[in-house]
């Protein structure tokens, strides 16, 4: 599973590192939500897509845009415990 979201008008794809996924608990979707909360700025709109979703022609990759789908989510703040665990001191 991957995350798709917007960076400056271009669609970006976030791929989780398998080793990091191993450290998380919960369903695959819950793990991706946690990564979104961690790696995306708080308030970023995104969607979780399966690995087998067909993406557009790569020839025009820089013209891809993110369009909100039916299951759009918004990244949230991590807990203080997670912020401390990830050494994200500036957010504490």
């Amino acid at each position: 599973m991957r995350l798709i979201y917007d960076i400056d008008g271009v669609a970006a794809l976030l791929i989780p590192a398998p080793k990091f996924l191993e450290t998380l608990t919960g369903t695959d979707e819950e793990k991706l939500i946690h990564i979104a909360n961690k790696d995306l700025p708080t308030g970023t709109k995104y969607e979780i897509i399966d690995d087998d979703v067909n993406l557009p022609d790569e020839t025009f990759r820089n013209a891809w845009t993110y369009t909100a789908g039916s299951d759009e989510k918004t990244s949230a703040d991590l807990s203080e415990e997670d912020l401390a665990k990830y050494n994200m001191k500036e957010n504490l």
């Binding site: 976030l14 791929i15 989780p16 398998p18 191993e22 990564i35 790569e58 665990k85 050494n87």
Partner: protein, 281 residues
């Protein structure tokens, strides 16, 4: 059988004279005695006939007593084994399997005379001392084995502190900080590394350390997100790829860095294998 008996009064055996002992013989051979000072001596004691509590006996007098291989010369409680099978040294109420408690405030000396634990190897020039941790589930989550040190204050001692551990107050005074678990990092080990690559359709992270994800932003432009933030953004990066190896890093932050790969005509290009190595605080 002959019996000395007194039913209505105390029975007194009196060795009446200075330094005269009361002796018990069997077949003409002395088996036990009570000295004039009250010391009881016997050739053997049948423990099956003993009842009641033993009197307090100085540990100094217990040398060689008890389980073979254990000797004690202590005259006060040095170690306590609780009913929960926890061992306390310096404490009668251990909170874990083995707890050492002391109130030492003296700086360590050369051989660790003031340490709570000192491993001293007498093996000579090839001496090796090891503390090992083992178990069945090493997933790199840092939960199975580790060393955890928590202080309220740390004073730098460059002569004796080779490795320091994370403290709650002053990490800067520790010579080589090691953080918790698999993220155990120092300035002489990689803070993060990752092997990834591909287009948006094929991108994958093959392996990594201290990396939570990689974002494909545009053609040839990837952002590496750290699992645990670096202490500051003044770190060193090194990268490569399986095309022309033309790549650069920019947008350094404590939580991520951007890694861009190019073709030999200086246009951005998605690359099948990209590698990145990060050193820093």
């Amino acid at each position: 059988m002959s019996t000395i008996k007194s039913s209505d009064e105390h029975l007194t055996l009196n060795a009446d004279g200075s330094s005269k002992d009361i002796k018990f013989q069997a077949n003409g051979v002395e088996k036990a005695s009570i000295s004039s000072s009250g010391a009881f001596t016997s050739t053997t004691i049948d423990a099956t006939k003993l009842t009641g509590d033993l009197p307090a006996i100085s540990g100094a007098n217990l040398t060689g007593v008890g389980v073979a291989g254990i000797s004690s010369s202590a005259d006060a409680t040095a170690m306590t084994i609780t009913s929960a099978e926890k061992i306390g040294i310096g404490t009668a109420t251990p909170i874990c399997l083995v707890e050492l408690e002391h109130s030492n405030t003296t700086a360590l000396s050369g051989d660790g005379d003031d340490s709570a634990i000192n491993i001293h190897n007498t093996g000579g020039v090839n001496a090796i001392s090891t503390i090992s941790f083992s178990g069945g589930d090493h997933n790199g989550d840092g939960n199975l084995a580790g060393i955890y040190a928590k202080h309220t204050n740390v004073t730098e001692n460059s002569e004796t502190t080779d490795i320091g551990f994370k403290t709650s107050v002053n990490e800067a005074q520790v010579d080589n900080l090691i953080l918790r678990g698999d993220r155990g990092l120092s300035q002489f080990t990689a803070k993060a590394w990752v092997r990834y690559g591909g287009t948006s359709s094929t991108i994958a992270v093959a392996d990594s350390h201290n990396v939570s994800s990689v974002t494909h932003q545009q053609v040839g432009i990837y952002r590496i997100n750290y699992a645990n933030n670096l202490a500051n953004a003044n770190y060193v990066s090194f990268g490569n790829d399986d095309w022309y190896g033309i790549n650069y890093f920019n947008s350094y932050t404590t939580s991520s860095v951007q890694h861009t790969h190019l073709n030999n005509n200086w246009t951005n290009r998605d690359t099948g294998i990209c590698t990145a190595l990060i050193f820093g605080d």
